[in-house]
Assembly symmetry: C3
Homo-oligomer: 212 residues x 3
Amino acid sequence: MSVYAAHDVLELVGIYVFATSGALMAIRKGFDVVGILILAEVTALGGGVLRDLIIGDIPPAAFTKTSYLLLPMLAAAVTFFAHPVVERLNTTMLVFDAAGLGMFCVTGTLKALDYGLGSFQAVVLGVTTAVGGGLLRDITARETPTLVQVDTDLYSIPAAAGATLVAAASHTDLPLPAVAVGAAIFVFLFRVVAMMRHWTAPRAWERHRRTG
Amino acid sequence: MSVYAAHDVLELVGIYVFATSGALMAIRKGFDVVGILILAEVTALGGGVLRDLIIGDIPPAAFTKTSYLLLPMLAAAVTFFAHPVVERLNTTMLVFDAAGLGMFCVTGTLKALDYGLGSFQAVVLGVTTAVGGGLLRDITARETPTLVQVDTDLYSIPAAAGATLVAAASHTDLPLPAVAVGAAIFVFLFRVVAMMRHWTAPRAWERHRRTG
Amino acid sequence: MSVYAAHDVLELVGIYVFATSGALMAIRKGFDVVGILILAEVTALGGGVLRDLIIGDIPPAAFTKTSYLLLPMLAAAVTFFAHPVVERLNTTMLVFDAAGLGMFCVTGTLKALDYGLGSFQAVVLGVTTAVGGGLLRDITARETPTLVQVDTDLYSIPAAAGATLVAAASHTDLPLPAVAVGAAIFVFLFRVVAMMRHWTAPRAWERHRRTG
């Protein structure tokens, strides 16, 4: 399978898994089927839409390929009927989610570079692609964003590390497709290990010391 | 009165009623006059601004015709002074709101088609136009979005049905203005009947069965 | 120092102070370092990004000059380590924040006029530039927006007054740079006096009278 075919498959897997996490949150919050659908779409596509509005790819990719809008619908429908099963697959879902995280932060960074943004800006937009949907999901569902909670395993920091690798490599002679694959795998492993070891990001320094 | 004149009048009515629903929520939440104004503007124009940013009509229509920004101000001012009266008009407001819902989902779909988006995308953006402002209102006011609550009468589903009618008709020889009027009336009636009969959307299947 | 050099310095000060207010809120809410960083960036740049997406300056200014993204990182880092000191500087921070408010509402209005928007639209976008970041900060942190609370000192109203001055002057022969400086100083003083005298905006009329 070529890098590009693998990319296409992984992207669809990532969208599906992100959408499922949105649908599951909607179900946990007792939302109706409309809420399940909205949270699935927002979680799966929100980060990419933010990125595309900012870099100027308008209409955003999410609105140009029908599979992007349809896949979260499918994920919402499956979760709607099979959510007890889906919730039991929690660990599996988290592993796929880590793959999605790796994918989206790398492709988001590459797309921003393609559109002529600076390296640093591309890193920020790569991370936005990967974590923006989850942030919008939490805001819509009135949850404190998972992203900012102290007791959650590292999520955005692996994404930032991977995005930085890609942006840095774009200034070298290294073959970017290979770097991209490597960075995505690195993010995936970093996130998986962070979950296994429960690595968390620190609170503010002083407060941490007092309460530690 | 021509279809176009009727459209213009209905659009202003829709904006006014949506703005009033934002202003009333701000008053119920005890917000100050700035909050009343912000929620009025966000509710009335938020859905259309989201649509325009995505399809690339920039600046969004809300920022090109002064009446679009002024009308929510007027609604906020009237509600500010007369809100006990306005709240007693609740049923009247809900009927006008249903008219706005029909209007905005149809015009949103047509505009997205005009800008070259696919039929499915146009349906999503039509619904976004109609319900996006209310969603942003709820998020800003820290309310669980009405849109996703199980005990609320159908709102987005009539909009989705109407938007689908319009998008489907755009592939046929049917005269689009007539279809648009018909679809808007259909959405209006669907929503009004949903309120009268308290039709609601289901929760996730398993949970619904257990608690049912 | 020329008006333009003063503008550049003041803008950086404004971004820094806005970012600090985001970082402090994240620390008060017990968020981790990622949350501190996100709230710093969102608060400092969110208003300008909204404005730029609407007027069509894409990519938004925040993504074209590296200092715009870096400065909130610096503010987040300083606040992370020194937040007890930073919180003791509360009054100082509020004064700088008032300077930022004056700056951003004036430059936001001027930029919207430059992009060909109408005077009224430019006023709305000037206020959006100045207060949008704080609104997004509060929404992300799940706080009731400071902007809409009845017991908070006037904030958006001085900004609206200053933006109106600038937009009105753009229709006259008055030298716009001088007017801009004057308007920014006016907003600054208006806000400072509002804080000293605890000027607040009214609730809805009837409710205010009953509970007053």
